[in-house]
Amino acid sequence: MRLPKPRGPLSEWLVARLAGAGVTGAAPDAGSWDDECLSLWTLHELSFRGFEDGDDRAEWDPALLGVRHELETALEGRLRARWTRTDRAGAVAPHEVPAALEALVAADDGPSIADHVRRHADRDQVLELLRQRSVYHLKESDPSAFVVPRLPVRAKAALMALQFDEYGDGDPNRLHSHLFARGLEAVGLRAEYGAYVDDAMTENLEMNNAGSLFGLHRRLRGAAMGHLAAFEMTSSLPSRKMVQGLDRLGLAGPMSDYYDEHVEADAIHEHLALRDICGTLAEDEPDQAGEILFGAWTCLDVEARFATAFLSGSEVA
C-alpha cells in the first residue's frame, strides 16, 4: 500500500515524514477530526503491513510513538466517555459477563446497513459500501491476532480456534480477507490491501482505529476480546441479508461467497467468543470483566455511528 492522501496539517506532516521528506520539528495539531483519525490510522498501519513508500523503521520512532500516544489517549478518552454516559457501564461480576454481553447486543438499536442492502440499496451504494468495508475486511481478524500471547490458557486456545477459521483453516483460498479481495475483484473494484483508504469516511477510520487500539495494547486485551465478541455476535444474520441484497442486484458470486461464509462461520464464532474467550477471560482475570463490556459496547457504537453517517450519505431515511 502507498501512503494515504493527507487530510490536514497533522497527516500532511506525518506522511511527509514517513516518506523521508526531511521533515523535522514537532508535529502540528490536527486540523480536524478527519485529520486526527487518518493520522492515527496511518501510525497504526505501521504495525500491520506498512507502506511501500514509507520508512519501515518509523514503527518504533520515538517521536512518532509520542504522536501516536497522544492520538490514542484522545481516542480512548472519547470512547470511554461515550461508554460511561450509557446506563450499562456499571460493575459486572465475572460470571455474569456472557449474559451481560448478550444483553448489550440485544439492546443494540443502531441502524442496519444490511437491512438497507437487502431491500433498497442500489448498485452504486453497495459498491460504495464495499469500498468502505474493504478498509477492515482486507485486514480482517489481524487486530485480534495481536492479543493471542496476552491471554490466559483457556481464552488463548479458544481465540486460536476462532482465528484458525478466520485465516482459512490452513487453506489460503479460504482466508476471510482473501475471500473479500476476490469478491472486490469480481464486482470490478480494486482488491489490493488498503486500496480505498483515501475514500474512507471519518467514522470508518475511527471504527478501524478503535479495533486497532484495542488489539495493539496488552492493557486493552479485555476490550479487544469484548469487541471481537460483539462483532461476531452481530454478523451471521446481517451477512445473510448482505447475500440476499447482492443477489438482488446481480452481484452474486465471489462477493456473496464472502458473506455466505460468514453466515455459517460467525454462527460458530459467536459462541466461541462469548463463552470460551470472554467468559473464561473474565473468570481468570476478573478485572477484565468491565473492560470486556466496554470493548463490546464500543464495537456496536462505532458501527452505529458509521452506519448513520453512511446511510445519511446514501440519502435514505
Binding site: 444474520l237 454462527a267 460458530i268
Partner: protein
Amino acid sequence: MSAPEFDHPDVVLVPHGPMLLRGVGSVQDADGTVHPVERPVVALCRCEKSSRLPWCDGTHKVIPR
C-alpha cells in the same frame, strides 16, 4: 491450581442455540447427505429453522421461544 486439567467437551449444547461439535471430519444431514468438515468447531442447528441445515445460521435468535 496453577496448571489444571480443563474441561474441554467435544459436544456442547448452547442454551436455546445450536450444538457445537469439535474436531469432527464429516456430518450426515437428515437427508443422508454427508458434509465434510474443515473447521475446528461446527454448529449444528437444533431449532430446524436454519436456511442451511445441518448448520446453524443464527435463525434461532429470531424465533420466539
